[in-house]
Symmetry: C2
Subunit: 334 residues, 2 copies
């Protein structure tokens, strides 16, 4: 490994000077600057970042923790974060929590240990109390796509209540009265918010959402399938279903077909997320879209600002869900 010392010797200057041409080029004479450049190129010198970070007590990197890498849901946000920072020359490094509370905790710690200047975390296993504790201790934490009330200013999130409301209103506007929902696990804050908005909008229209019309599933295709089967078996006369993500919606549609129901003629279905499968499945899925990339970008900007203790007031933190009409919602049959 070629070090700053090697370069300094070859250039006939001190290590301090080499360091200066790297970090404060304007503080050094042009001639010596060239000398150093030549020497370091000839030697193929690369500054040891670890050493630099240690001396500076800063790493110019933003850490991101996500549930997993495989899902484009996280991937798109991750790309958004990266996009926000690439221009500034800062790095982003990502770690997985493997979808457990312990993993989320561990990943955050690991990124802190690496001296990340700020950390963007997507957490849905850690509960509010645990998160609050972490946020109190570390002022450079940003929460991605989740709201933690006491630390609002460091949260970037989708207005999930609005999402739920939009779904309900669209179904109502299409003439539905017998409406059910395939919700995600209760532990997810998104799920609670969506449910709240959904039930609220139904209520405003004089419609109820009894427990019998709320089925829980695990965000998977198979879960959506089972949930719809459940719903139909209950003979509840449901004509429209709001699923909390696109996969479950597609699963529900498949199950409906298998039971001889056609979508949207016999059953209207609306999903959530607007992932690729929403536009690719047939019939194309009507859904509630969320601007994941923009959310990621905002997180990146917020983290960057936080790490430099810059102003964060101009950074958007709440994003609107949006109805995306495609082919799976129509008027009920009669």
């Amino acid at each position: 490994m070629v070090t700053i010392l090697d370069v300094s010797r070859k250039a006939g200057v001190s290590t301090a000077t080499v360091s200066r041409v790297l970090n404060h080029p304007d503080m050094v004479d042009e001639k010596t600057r060239d000398l150093v450049h030549v020497a370091s190129e000839q030697l193929g010198y690369r500054p040891n970042r670890i050493a630099r970070d240690l001396a500076r007590r800063s790493s110019q990197t933003i850490g991101v923790v996500v549930n997993n890498f495989a899902s484009p849901y996280y991937g798109v946000m991750l790309d958004g974060v990266d996009e926000a920072l690439v221009a500034s020359g800062w790095n982003v490094i990502a770690e997985t929590s493997r979808e457990t509370a312990a993993g989320e905790f561990r990943a955050i710690q690991s990124l802190m240990d690496r001296q990340c200047d700020a950390i963007v975390v997507h957490a849905n296993s850690l509960d509010d109390a645990a998160l609050a504790e972490l946020f109190r201790k570390n002022p450079k934490l940003v929460l991605m796509n989740r709201l933690l009330e006491p630390f609002q200013s460091r949260c970037v999130y989708l207005d999930n209540e609005l999402g739920g409301r939009l779904a309900a209103r669209h179904l109502i506007a299409s003439g539905h009265v017998d409406i059910a929902t395939i919700a995600g696990p209760e532990t997810f804050h998104e799920v609670r918010s969506r449910l709240k908005g959904f039930a609220g909008a139904l209520g405003e229209a004089g419609l109820a959402l009894p427990d019998s019309r709320i089925v829980r599933a695990d965000f998977s295709l198979a879960g959506g399938r089972r949930a719809l089967a459940d719903l139909i078996e209950r003979q509840s006369g449901v004509t429209a279903v709001f699923a909390h993500n696109d996969e479950m919606a597609v699963g529900a549609i498949e199950a409906a077909y298998q039971m001889g129901l056609s979508v949207p003629d016999d059953l209207s279905v609306i999903g959530f997320d607007d992932m690729t499968i929403a536009s690719l499945s047939r019939p194309a899925l009507t859904t509630i879209g969320q601007p994941l990339r923009a959310i990621g970008t905002a997180c990146g900007r917020l983290a960057h600002a936080l790490s430099r203790e810059a102003d964060t007031s101009e950074i958007r933190r709440v994003f609107d869900a949006e109805l995306i009409e495609r082919e799976t919602v129509s008027e009920p049959r009669h």
Copy 2:
């Protein structure tokens, strides 16, 4: 920040002892070990990883570079790498190349600067020569899903030729004679291999693959759509198409429908990758699957072994593509 010195003082021992209980607990007396544990817990001590890495000249982390995070194609492999290493306590950190050669280079450098003990790289913008240069200089580099002949032992990849052959054989076995392909950009090594296998298998069956039956597209849905339209306009009488990824296949199917052709009755289509959309689109896509997660896992294992200079001979490096029959291939009409 609480340092090892604070802990040592509080515990009434030297920093060396604190360091030992952290890294070589068996070398220190149980009593003093407890003393240190208590002290460090009371102070909320967290070892500074940057400092540790600098002193050790090793980081116990594997870096991974991928084209982007948004595509599950990379995400699944990334998760595979992580999966392979989580048990060993090693970390993986990932960076994006943003799909440019410069980005690939930059990301690799960046990970090297961070003293990653090994680096897994997915590169398809860098050419063989540039990669070879990097691999020569850095013995701890692993190439993910690509073959670089001179450094075979550090490559983990899919047998793309086999994939191409499987696609051709399946089409031939189904009775097709007029066969075309929607290939990816020529710059992708996978594309060249698949084409080679595909043309080879056709040749074995006495069928030719003239240039007029090779259409290039960019791996996108829209690209697939356009490519199929091209093909049909040429009036080539094609009855079956092999697309180099699932997205293009789905695009081709859409275009076929729009032109009044039914799939598979009028046109058989086979994709590549077996991503989620293959099983979710309707009709469900027949495709060539590749074990992305396993490939990622193998990369992780290889990188880990390399970084410890352990034996790598037991690690699988070549993976087989596999035909996955669904609904988009049938016999030609007459």
